[in-house]
């Protein structure tokens, strides 16, 4: 396992400098005790009324198998945090949110104290009483009122208490493309497709000219349903409607979903431009894209961070190079079309006691939120990542406000090493796109259901789309009715 307990002298030196920076900046978080690194024995403690007891905090780090450099960057941040809060001992674990294993971990109580969950799961976990109520600790944060309300809602229980905090990767689904393949196919990388028809013809051109699949679709582990829902939104459809009486109705047979499936069918069987693997999930489609085997695909707008951290996209990799990465807005067509947004919340394990909860909030504040709010932490975080060759500056949707986001980008401008100039297709419109949240009821289960039509269309030339959607509709409705 990546060594967490043996910081090298270089890391220690770096963190000393960083801590110096932090204490020098007046914008240090009020949550941090007013001690400097050489004053750890201070007995005056303004943050809490009694000496904080020693706490071990288990947190999540990165995807299993990520680059060593990414882990090094993370370890540095941990060291900085521990220097700030000497009574907290952080233990980090690799973590991948997979619908299939999360349940076992949750039931087994082996989830860390602070872990990450997608927006879609928060409500259910709260209802099941599986998340700790961190409302009190949350409201102690001075900026608790500055959050984007819509995002905060995702982590609130029916009692209005906060159980999970918007933490990172607030994304809108966007279109990712391989600029080198565009070049090779005779397409202009600075003029990516803006309608689905253009996507289709670009995919075909890439396939014909280079033999590489022009487009790919995730289809397994609930990601098929996730992307199908996103594709539905972009065509003006919705997969679910909330009724006035609090119940939900599934609307899977809407024209948008059908059009999305027919699009896939055409790409697969008429154009032969679809990457022919119906077992792709979020991770493996990234892997194939990073290996240069895919021309375009849709996924969260912030996927670049993962591509660089965990899937081997570097300035000189043999597959996709940094300069070849392109990001543009997902095509939006028709009235009511919107972009699916989601994100990751930080949750605290239900078994955490108050001391652990306190420590957890401090960690969430330090690691996830501070870099957005204060220049000092922002620079520190960016510096660490930059020094370890990790991506800085990937476009994400703001947790707080647009102004805050743009200000924070200004602070770290010198560290930004992602090819922003290749992402203008998305960044130019990201705040103006109409956004639609993920469906709120039985989300993951309906995503799982929808994996089936997606896989069927990709593997069976004669798949009957109407029948598949009818079947999914019936099953989805019964899920909504019971839950």
């Amino acid at each position: 396992m990546r060594s967490l307990t043996k910081p090298t002298t270089a890391v220690l030196a770096a963190s000393a400098v960083a801590i110096g920076l932090l204490s020098a900046c007046s914008g240090a978080s009020p949550e941090a005790p007013e001690t400097s690194p050489d004053d750890t024995t201070s007995t005056t403690d303004e943050a809490t009324s009694d000496t904080p007891q020693d706490v071990t905090l288990r947190v999540v780090s990165l995807l299993p198998g990520s680059d060593q450099a990414a882990f090094d960057a993370f370890d540095e941040r941990v060291t900085q945090f521990e220097a700030l809060y000497p009574h907290i001992d952080v233990e980090a674990e690799e973590y991948e949110w997979k619908a299939t294993t999360f349940a076992a971990q949750l039931a087994g109580g082996t989830l860390p104290d602070v872990y990450e969950i997608p927006f879609t799961d928060a409500k259910t976990l709260i209802e099941n009483g599986q998340l700790a109520d961190v409302d009190a600790q949350f409201h102690d944060l001075p900026y608790s009122g500055d959050f984007n309300e819509a995002l905060l809602e995702a982590g609130k229980g029916p009692d209005g208490h906060v159980y999970a905090i918007p933490a990172k990767s607030i994304y809108g689904v966007a279109l990712h493309y391989n600029r080198a393949l565009f070049d090779a196919a005779g397409l202009d990388p600075d003029d990516p497709p803006t309608t689905w028809a253009e996507v289709r013809s670009a995919a075909k051109q890439i396939k014909d000219a280079t033999g590489v699949a022009g487009y790919a679709q995730m289809a397994a582990d609930n990601t098929g349903g996730w992307q199908l829902t996103s594709a539905t939104y972009t065509r003006g459809g919705r997969t679910q409607v909330a009724e006035a009486d609090g119940t939900y109705t599934a609307t899977l047979t809407n024209p948008g979903t059908k059009a999305a499936l027919e699009f896939l069918k055409a790409l697969r069987w008429e154009d032969d431009s679809l990457y022919a693997d119906a077992t792709l999930n979020w991770g493996t489609v990234n892997e194939k894209f990073a290996a240069g085997q895919i021309g375009m695909y849709t996924s969260g707008s912030d996927v670049y961070t993962a591509l660089a951290e965990s899937f081997g996209v570097t300035p000189d990799s043999s597959g996709l190079k940094v300069a070849d990465y392109g990001l543009t807005a997902i095509p939006n067509e028709g009235a009511d079309s919107g972009v699916l947004v989601g994100g990751t919340l930080a949750a605290v394990n239900i078994r955490a006691d108050d001391a652990v909860k306190d420590a957890a909030i401090k960690w969430i504040d330090f690691f996830y939120l501070q870099p957005h709010l204060d220049e000092g932490p922002a620079v520190e975080n960016a510096q660490v990542r930059f020094d370890n060759g990790q991506p800085v500056g990937t476009p994400v949707l703001p947790i707080f406000s647009r102004e805050q986001y743009e200000t924070s980008l200004g602070w770290i401008e010198q560290f930004i090493n992602v090819p922003l100039e290749n992402m203008t297709g998305y960044t130019d419109v990201m705040f103006d796109q109409p956004v639609v949240g993920e469906p709120s009821a039985s989300t993951q289960e309906i995503y799982a259901l929808l994996d089936v039509p997606v896989q069927a269309v990709m593997t069976d030339q004669n798949a009957d789309i109407d029948a598949l959607l009818e079947q999914a509709q019936t099953q989805a409705q019964s899920l909504l009715d019971e839950g």
């Binding site: 299993p64 493996t284 043999s318």
Partner: protein
């Protein structure tokens, strides 16, 4: 998870009708005790010799291609650069050899650690199984207390329960074991302890002990040996063959085990190869992944080649189950 047993083959068949035959001919035929279907006379015929020879060569070819082929391919992929694996998998190193893959697999992907886990898990599972099967068989077969019959039936009953039924409740038992109070999840004990509950092993041992000559036990008892002495100094030394068989089964079963470790060892640090390798698929370069797979296969294969006889003897007695 559990293996089931084949009973020793005692079925007989009414032999094809045979009236009195010329004694000399029968005697000559009976002298060839090593024969199979074909007799010496059969082998003398040219057509049989060439026919069988041809068939055997064909069989050997098929076995090499099918049995050895994929393994050799794996070895080749292990040292081929990823792009070559993807573009020209069957060509012979068009762009040179990537010894790097092996280095990366061992150090970056840290196959060594998962390999160690696999070995530790196998060792503990082996110990657990030997302990339970040997002592259990001893009680059922030699000591035979009053409750032996009941015990035997209860053990046999578990043979008929497919592993699937145990999956969920065993998982919950691991989360909250009786007496202990702390969860065994993410400890090797969660794999070691349940491994011992193999009715197959117990029955094998008990049967074997049944066939040991009782006179030796009597003699030892007369000499004043208590049950412990009897077990340790008399029964066990005579049981080396069956211990070998059970050991081989135990190690192979543990090495292959996938679903159970997947459930109870969620911390990557503790996972054996079988659990860890699939989760590394997406984030690992294909060439390096192949190298990792190859390294994982090397030891079982070497182990097998060295202990061939024991493997094959043991495998012949027990059952090999698909799925």
């Amino acid at each position: 998870m559990t293996t089931t047993q084949t009973s020793t083959m005692q079925t007989t068949t009414a032999a094809p009708a045979g009236a009195a035959r010329p004694l000399a001919r029968r005697r000559a035929a009976a002298m060839d005790t090593l024969r199979g279907v074909l007799s010496i006379a059969d082998w003398r015929r040219r057509s049989v010799r060439t026919g069988m020879g041809f068939v055997h060569v064909l069989l050997l070819l098929v076995l090499v291609v099918i049995g050895l082929g994929p393994i050799l391919l794996l070895g080749k992929f292990a040292i081929t650069p990823t792009q070559d694996i993807l573009r020209a998998p069957l060509e012979v190193f068009p762009n040179g050899i990537a010894w790097d893959n092996l280095h990366k697999a061992w150090f970056d992907v840290q196959i060594s650690r998962y390999f160690l886990n696999t070995v530790l898990i196998a060792a503990g599972a082996w110990a657990s199984q030997i302990l339970v099967a040997a002592t259990g068989g001893y009680v059922l077969s030699v000591l035979r207390p009053r409750y032996a019959k009941a015990l035997q039936w209860m053990v046999l009953a578990t043979l008929f329960v497919p592993g699937v039924v145990l999956l969920v409740p065993l998982y919950l038992t691991i989360l909250d074991p009786p007496i202990l109070g702390t969860s065994l999840l993410n400890t090797f004990w969660a794999v070691w302890l349940p491994a011992g509950a193999s009715a197959f092993n117990v029955v094998l041992m008990a049967r074997f002990f049944d066939n040991l000559p009782r006179e030796i036990f009597e003699a030892a008892r007369v000499d004043g040996a208590g049950p412990f002495r009897l077990f340790w100094s008399v029964v066990l030394p005579m049981s080396k063959p069956i211990l070998g068989v059970v050991s081989v089964f135990a190690v192979i079963a543990s090495w292959k085990d996938f679903l159970w470790p997947l459930l109870v060892l969620t911390k990557p640090d503790l996972q054996p190869l079988s659990v860890r390798l699939p989760s590394l698929q997406a984030t690992t370069d294909l060439g390096v992944l192949m190298a990792a797979l190859a390294i994982s296969t090397l030891i079982p294969i070497l182990f097998f080649l060295v202990f061939q006889r024991m493997f094959l003897r043991g495998a012949g007695l027990g059952g090999a189950i698909k799925g």
